[in-house]
Symmetry: C2
Subunit: 764 residues, 2 copies
């Protein structure tokens, strides 16, 4: 199979919602208002760890215009259910809806619904609370020390983790025999790396609007990546039948993993159920910083054994991660640092261990890259250390060891995946070769120059998945309209990524129609078939596969009708450009088939197909960074960043490039600037875009994106995924480039000017 003869797929079709987005007609949660709507506001904890000994809301309730004030006293202490794709069960990791204990500054204490936001804010200030302040853990290394305060001392906090040690998750897994492997090695390199709390910073903050529809069903318009999971969670938390809840995702302004969390939907719905009024809550930026997810910080130790010729024989990684006060991603995310990245270099002996602890800091969760980002920083930083130790070209070392087509991800099996994860496609070598060519690797590497400002070149590789193998799935429904156009219904969730466009392209291609002939409706639990939602780089591969299946079945049904009309067997029909030509010379158009089905056979053609990810085929990426380091200030400037990505076939080339550009920008911020900073009282110091430094237009280097095409047979039209993998490579590529420039290795993200300067001074 190839991309030859494709009409719609692999082109750069403008976004189907593009005009609405640029003209401002697209509606985000905050664009919805309703008669009688109330505004909600959450009162949060000022203490990192405390027990509520007394709470009095009488004065707040008495404020005119206040319709509800709720605290833990008003609600059953129901614990949030597991995130992600799992049966509806309470999660031992997650919070109860409102609790009598607070575990971080920003933890929920009470919620108010009032006729204006100002009244709600006023009422919050009138809530009288007494806290018993408890000692707090603000350092992940101290969480498991004997005598540490216990963050989850509640009765039901027993289960798969060890609450009494503040251990949120633990996993040890591997294959081969690392001890043996290290014995066989000629050289062993071992380092410890530190990665930071990064904030997603989607331009749209979280928002939800709940209301009761005319039949009394609960509707939630919310900025979520996972409408069906949200419905499941709300049904559990609210103790309502799922059929009485409808979750709608309108246009949303970015997710990046943050909008997998149910941070407000539960409270907004409770307020609507109590007041019988529409209730809206939109986080401001500070609330988003405190109450949303963030990337898990971690200490990661990596030990690698290599032969003199550069052959890697053993790798051992141990992760100590901080999930904050809660966190349903405590197991799956930090383990992904190894699970997703150690397979990059297939090695005979691998050992991985992870401990995730609770601290009295805000909650960590899903973030684009999902553990692979920190794993890549560690593995790819160390690869350059190994190359230096062996005096090899880092590119050559990687090319020698890297994963290739036909290889099997043995760690996936060790993690319990049932179907062997074979690399049916792997463009990583070509990514490295073409990226090296584009940056001028051979000419520029190892030539820092003599000035105050040194120049360096660095590279890094990464891989990711396409949905979670054996877990993620989605479905698509296609309806044929009277005029030969189609309505496409998908549970898949466009976060601004353009997935609606990609899915329309797949449908149009498979149906042989122009994209204008497809109307898409996505992300409404009432109206669309099931989909796990947008995470784990799943939409194009998983949901797109469902769309392709549905379209193919639809075309078969259409040809059966055309066969009827033309008096020929379906096998004797030729379909091209919305015209079906029979061997007997008769020809009918798609529109004629549609009219025939409406007016003659009298049958509504509607097809639903489902699709899942069996082995999560990885996309691959290689980034090459060229940096300038000012040795007097420590300032690092990225001059050029080349990223070559194997995402299989790009369904929409421009959108794929957009994903790469967005991801590497976020990756450069992670490398150089972004970090949530706390004081010694657990207070977040930079919950705003003035003090939390994002990578912006002035910081941008010259970007170059190379799409290395492979054809993944299991994906729709050869597609794998692209949304996450390019975020992983900038940080290690820049770290390696800094080393190339100034001979200093930074083990601690972000690599600020201060750290560079300190490291330079230390070396001197």
């Amino acid at each position: 199979m190839s991309t030859k003869n494709l009409q719609v797929v692999n082109t750069s079709l403008p976004k189907v919602d593009g005009i609405s987005l640029v003209t401002g007609s697209a509606r985000y949660v905050d664009d919805f208002t309703m008669p009688g709507m109330l505004y909600a506001k959450i009162l949060t904890s000022p203490h990192p760890h405390a027990r509520i000994t007394s709470i009095n809301v009488e004065r707040a309730r008495a404020v005119p215009g206040v319709h509800a004030v709720l605290t833990y006293k008003d609600l059953k202490p129901i614990r949030h259910t597991k995130a992600g794709q799992s049966y509806p069960e309470p999660s031992p990791y997650d919070r109860v809806i409102l609790d009598n204990k607070v575990r971080f500054i920003g933890d929920r204490v009470a919620v108010v619904a009032a006729e204006t936001l100002r009244i709600a804010e006023e009422a919050l200030q009138l809530i009288e609370i007494e806290f018993e302040v408890l000692p707090a853990i603000l350092d992940l290394e101290k969480a498991m020390q004997p005598g540490a305060p216990i963050i989850h001392d509640e009765q039901d906090a027993s289960g798969i983790y060890d609450a009494s040690r503040n251990l949120a998750a633990h996993k040890a897994v591997g294959y081969g025999d690392v001890e043996q492997g290290f014995k066989e090695a000629d050289l062993i390199i071992e380092n410890t790396y530190h990665t930071q709390r990064q904030k997603h910073c989607a331009l749209e903050t979280h928002g939800s609007l709940a209301y009761l529809d005319e039949n009394g069903r609960l509707v939630v318009i919310t900025s979520t990546q996972v409408p069906f999971h949200t419905r499941r969670q709300l049904a559990y938390i609210l103790e309502m039948p799922m059929s009485q809840i409808r979750v709608i995702k309108p246009r949303i302004g970015g997710g990046f993993g943050n909008k997998q969390g149910t941070f407000m939907e539960d409270l907004v719905c409770v307020l609507t159920l109590r007041t019988r009024r529409p209730v809206k809550l939109i986080f401001n930026r500070a609330e988003e910083f405190h109450q949303g997810y963030m990337r898990h910080p971690a200490l990661i130790r990596l030990k690698t054994g290599v032969k003199k010729d550069g052959t890697i024989v053993a790798q051992q990684m141990s992760v100590l991660a901080d999930t904050g006060a809660y966190g349903d991603h405590a197991l799956t995310l930090p383990t992904s640092a190894g699970r997703k990245i150690l397979p990059l270099y297939p090695v005979d002996h691998v050992q991985f261990e992870c401990h995730t602890v609770y601290t009295n800091l805000p909650v960590c969760g899903a973030f684009r890259g999902y553990g692979a980002t920190k794993g890549t920083f560690v593995v790819e930083s160390q690869m350059d250390e190994i190359a230096r130790a062996l005096n090899m070209d880092p590119l050559e070392l990687r090319l020698k060891n890297c994963i290739k087509q036909g290889n099997v991800d043995r760690l996936a099996a060790a993690f319990g995946e049932k179907i062997p994860r074979v690399m049916h496609t792997c463009g990583l070598t070509e990514c490295m070769q073409r990226g090296a060519e584009a940056i001028g690797w051979r000419e520029k590497h190892g030539k820092p120059g003599n000035g105050v400002v040194k120049r360096g070149i660095g590279m890094a590789c990464s891989m990711q998945g396409s949905g979670i193998a054996g877990v993620d799935w989605g479905a698509a429904t296609l309806k044929l309209n009277d005029d030969g156009t189609f309505s496409l219904f998908v549970g898949a969730t466009d976060l601004g990524t353009g997935s609606d466009t990609v899915l329309v392209q797949i449908a149009a291609e498979a149906l042989g129609v122009p994209p204008e002939a497809i109307s898409i409706l996505s992300s409404d639990t009432d109206l669309t078939p099931f989909d796990v939602g947008a995470y784990a780089s799943s939409t194009t591969y998983v949901s797109g596969g469902a769309v392709k299946k549905a379209a193919e079945q639809m075309l078969t049904a259409i040809l059966a009708i055309a066969a009827n009309m033309s008096g020929e067997e379906p096998t004797n029909l030729n379909y091209h450009n919305r015209q079906i030509i029979a061997q007997n010379g008769k020809s009918v158009s798609l529109r004629e088939v549609a009219l025939y089905s409406v007016y003659e056979t009298k049958e509504q053609l509607t097809i639903t197909a489902s699709n899942t990810s069996h082995i999560s085929p990885p996309p691959f990426a290689a980034s090459f960074a060229e940096v300038e380091v000012d040795t007097e200030t420590g300032q690092v400037k990225v001059v050029k960043l080349v990223t070559a990505v194997d995402c299989g076939v790009a369904i929409n080339r421009q959108l794929a490039e957009g994903q790469v550009e967005g991801a590497v920008t976020q990756g450069m911020g992670y490398a150089l600037f972004e970090e949530m900073a706390f004081d010694d009282q657990g207070r977040l110091l930079n919950p705003n875009f003035a003090d939390y430094k994002l990578f912006n237009a002035f910081d941008m280097p010259q970007l170059e994106t190379i799409l290395v095409e492979t054809y993944e047979e299991s994906g729709p039209y050869g597609a794998k995924s692209i949304g996450e993998v390019p975020i992983n490579t900038p940080a290690p590529a820049i770290a390696n480039a800094i080393y190339d420039a100034i001979g200093v290795r930074l083990f601690d993200l972000p690599m600020t000017a201060e750290k560079v300067l300190t490291a330079l001074k230390k070396r001197k």
Copy 2:
């Protein structure tokens, strides 16, 4: 098959939208408002027939707040397409969107959209028009006379009718040899009857709100009975792809055939397309009277030949009907007077002829009963005349001649129906027997008493169809949700009739779940499968059949999964009360199957099924009226009305009874009071509920409804239809009761006190 073991069907489940209706949360068109919404108002003709020689809208356009003023000069003269289920072609019968000629008082001249209704009304008054007034035809008998003014002299007014004679439609059809039949008869009775213009008087007037959604697609929320037909018509009239138009029917307050018309949607959409703003138009009551449909008035001649023993041998009916200035129902409705009713008494020789003419009066169209109502008045009035001439009991004459199970409707074949219309069920005899029993026929008939107020008993029978054979169809989609509940999507249109409830009952019965487990979404062309809409008594039989098929296929799919789960063949499973018990003893619940399909097989179960009406099985009705006639005033009071109906199995007994009660009330109004009255200038004299007398609470007799159950195998759970047939019988039953009371036959509807008194005086 029988109704034994039914759990949900055949009960009186409260309406699924009942709470929303009684609490006022249900939303009708006028309950929707949108930011920036404009109000539209139509300027109509003050002349019954005129040409616009000059029109100046400059002053109107200059009014602040006016956003658009449109006349025929601004629009392409596109003719409305055919109503009902037909390919999208222009209708030779219907109007062009805005024309330079007006053909009745109330015909559309111009339309305005402004920021308030007051501004729109003000602007209308500033439009300056000069008319060339033309001679008008206000009497259907004069329409085809030589030299009559030609109402449709436009160029494209050629086609299947003879515009040059004002002939809108003509049909002659029959079987056997009527001349021979009349020769064989011992007695021939021939009379001419006149039936009037009746107005539907749905409590909600027509209303539409059009807007462009965020993607620029045109959405119309409108009080229509036929969302899919409206979409088709709008696509044609607006020259837009159908896929760019979405039609939504919200809650609506009655249709009765009137809401099959596209009286405003086209103009509202044009205004939205021109102004890019939401535009709403709600008819006031006077506009509804002038611009909506009304029942066709007709002169009907009926000639019947009978043997001395009462055997009917030949019937000949000729209809001269008036469609008003336009009317897409000009052929199908007036011909239904014979087509639907002559089969009531299977006769060897039948001849039917119909001429429908244009006049310069408002437009006639579909109305509950659709021609059968006037046909029943004629046939059933004459049956009593025959009985009197033969000195037979009218009940016995009917029982002797009436259609019975196994009979074939030979007229249907003559009209071109391909499948023989066999009466697989026919409860008419039982309807008559039980109705006669309930009214006390034998005791009371022929005993008018001696006072000033005479008492009389009369009866009449009728039949109708269940959808249009070979034409009407609908589809239903069922989606299984995670929790074992279902979403039901139907194009079928609930007009307040309760069809949403009936369809939920059918789905619940077939799926073996309580009705609460089904969420229904109906009447949205984007979201639901196709359905022809609510007319011709089709919804329960046709759309209900689709729901049952979809539910049965869904249950099969569910059992296949359960078989998988329990390791048994599907044939070895027993399904009861949402539990599937395998022969091997394993048991799984419906909810477990749903969870299994979400979390294990990973498949969205969604089923779409379609269903059509092959032979339109008739429901039957017999009404028995007891009246008091004041011989001094002519006033007729209905004392009691018994109506027995064979609708097959009533899916919802209470709703079925409600249909009967509503229909006979409307039928009594038709009998005694209701008539649109015009002066000799073609001006409607009573366009309001003060002057147009409806049958109201004070007029109500004791009502009794008897549901005579038959089991129609082709219908869902034995159902046929019920919405229309009971409207047909009150008028002739009352006419016959009046005759029984005072020995006077009235041939002219409505039978007002004035007419009764005049007839009484004439007789004396």
